[in-house]
Point group: C2
Chain length 191, copies 2
């Protein structure tokens, strides 16, 4: 049994929480109350990138020793033409730098919430959660939580690959806002 | 009727040439003979990134006024851990800088050759060619050549989005060499 704490109760946090519960694992939703206890082995930061700094300020010390999952797409949402993180880095690596006592993973940022709920991308292929990070055990733990609910996960490589995952999330968002793909569709990984 | 000249006769050049011909357009294959005439309205550089510099040295002046399509994935193939172009740029933008009198597009780099031949990604979704570039007419011309053969194309945005297309191509190649996806599968764009 794994406990997953989710900070943020928007459509992504809700969809991820539903998957955790469907797999028979324990989910707890954490608000922004800095006094809230965080019991999860895995903590999902299910908020937008601009909110992450406040989350870390409120909860950072309690994240030590835990697997922390960054799901963000750090777009400049005014221009939809660039990311707000270093071109040779990623939001995930920035967050990892701020949480040196946590094991940070990148995941879920290439999945629209509706594809997590339906387990299908555009009705064409099963939803796959791409996971990047430098700790194989942490990636395997998250993959096991997903697998328990019948959701595929693929190890996308080291933390350096978060850059590519964020590029996919960025492009997918630009295509969706232009209505070139639907919010229940987008990039599917086929095998 | 559009004429497409293809430089390079590997599996990608062959697959692209087959699509051009299937759509009733004209295809010509160009070798590395610097004296060869190039008659195409569209010229596809269907070679690996390391070979592009020699192609431009041999044929560059003849590419003026033409739509030039870069299909490369500029990986460091020794490490499979990075690209060899600037992190905030792309191979396509580097090539565009060397061909100021041509209209450069990025396309095909997210498509494995087998998915161009079969028009299917992993048996799950139709193959989609993602095209990035700053000239809408050029993108529409390439899309029309593909559409004539029943191959979907999606305008992925400006030349700046070549960075994201190359990130997708990079990640897809790393997954394929690790046998996490097949060479007839990979990322499918669903709508």
């Amino acid at each position: 049994m794994t406990t997953v704490s989710i900070i943020g109760n928007g459509n992504m946090g809700t969809a991820i929480g539903d998957i955790v519960a469907a797999g028979g694992n324990t989910v707890e939703f954490i608000g922004r109350d800095a006094d809230a206890a965080i019991t999860g082995d895995i903590v999902v930061l299910a908020v937008g990138y601009p909110a992450v700094a406040d989350i870390i300020a409120a909860h950072g010390e309690k994240l030590a020793g835990k697997v922390v999952v960054d799901i963000t797409n750090p777009l400049n949402f005014e221009t939809f033409d660039s990311l707000v993180v270093p071109a040779d880095g990623s939001a995930a690596s920035v967050i990892a730098g701020k949480l040196p006592d946590s094991t940070v993973l990148k995941a879920f940022n290439t999945n629209f919430a509706a594809t997590l709920a339906s387990k299908s991308v555009g009705g064409a292929a099963p939803t796959t959660v791409l996971i990047a990070g430098d700790d194989g055990d942490a990636k395997a733990l998250l993959a096991s939580v997903l697998g328990a609910a019948g959701v595929d996960a693929v190890d996308a490589g080291s933390m350096a690959r978060a850059r590519e995952l964020e590029a996919i999330g960025f492009l997918q968002l630009t295509l969706a806002v232009q209505e070139k793909v639907g919010w229940a569709a987008g990039f599917a990984l086929t095998k």
